[in-house]
């Protein structure tokens, strides 16, 4: 996998998270609504940054899919939290993959920072953490 491929994969992951957080926001309890909104905005900001990094490398940023298969049925606060946690855990894998392949220090730093952020968010949503976020595979469901 090249750095560009890993950036594209991370971007595709951010697209999926943006879609997923829309669903989370629709079902999350009022007490966590701000956090869901912050998550949504964070993923949108990262989408822009990744697209910029891809264009810098003469790539065409992958587009979002029209719809996504959501791995769990989200119809209440609990399932909304579960989905948000899962989105963050799966996203972590894509940023770990980027560190695995890139020789660009700035991209390693970007991926490191994001891996830390997603793991903290996953811990907040799920109340637990993997020993090795991004390396330990989240459940396929």
């Amino acid at each position: 996998m090249s750095t560009l491929d890993a950036l594209q994969a991370a971007l595709a992951g951010e697209h999926a998270c943006i879609y997923g957080y829309g669903l989370v926001g629709a079902h999350i309890s009022e007490s966590a609504a701000d956090r869901a909104r912050d998550g949504y905005e964070t993923h949108r900001a990262r989408r822009e940054e990744l697209a910029r990094q891809i264009r810098l490398r003469h790539g065409e940023p992958v587009a979002a899919l029209p719809a996504y298969v959501v791995p769990i049925e989200v119809d209440d606060n609990q399932s909304a939290r579960q989905l948000a946690g899962l989105l963050e855990q799966r996203l972590a894998v894509l940023y770990a993959d980027l560190i695995d392949v890139t020789s660009v220090p700035a991209l390693r730093e970007l991926a490191l920072t994001t891996l830390i952020e997603t793991s903290v968010l996953a811990a907040r949503w799920t109340g637990d953490t993997f020993a090795l976020p991004g390396i330990d595979e989240p459940p396929a469901l």
Partner: protein
């Protein structure tokens, strides 16, 4: 200084670095061990730090039985960090001389350090653990950015991410 000694000095100094007047024996460099690879230094440092964190959690769990089950889960994750760091040691090329585990290369000591002091107040213990995690996040972050090997960098990033999650989760331990 006499003119004569000046002349001698002028004659000798430029030759000092030249091997014309030295026998082969004198030129033989004393064998110095090759410096450890920078990644080995990082691995050894990170393993030592993870061992210390694990020891801190186990001491805290022993001192606070009501937190024991929870804190042991944190200790287990630090134990997995050690294994993950060690899994990044590259295989030795065939025919290499006596292998020494990279994680023992620079400084790792086998002497068990004194058990860490644990506060009696549970809130103070949680603070102590969070401070240790935050310090570890900074160290592993710096190590990640310096690592030569990509896989080592990934493992260190993941460890820092787990420690950031630990810092967050410790808020709700009490």
């Amino acid at each position: 200084m006499s003119r004569r000694s000046l002349l001698i000095a002028g004659a000798v100094v430029p030759l000092a670095g030249c091997d014309v007047f030295h026998s082969a024996d004198e030129q033989e460099p004393t064998p110095t061990p090759a410096p450890p690879h920078p990644d080995d230094v990082i691995r050894a440092r990170a393993v030592d730090a993870e061992r210390a964190l694990m020891a801190l959690y186990l001491a805290a769990a022993a001192a606070h039985p009501d937190l024991e089950a929870e804190l042991e889960r944190f200790a287990d994750r630090h134990l997995r960090h050690i294994a993950a760091i060690e899994s990044t040691v590259p295989p030795l090329p065939p025919g290499s001389p006596t292998p020494t585990p990279a994680t023992q290369a620079p400084a790792a000591t086998d002497e068990s350090p004194a058990p860490p002091d644990i506060a009696a107040d549970p809130d103070a213990v949680v603070k102590q653990l969070r401070d240790a995690e935050v310090a570890a996040i900074e160290e592993r972050t710096a190590d990640c950015l310096q690592a030569r090997d990509y896989r080592l960098a990934t493992v260190l990033a993941s460890i820092a991410a787990c420690e950031a999650a630990h810092d967050r989760l410790l808020r709700s331990v009490r």
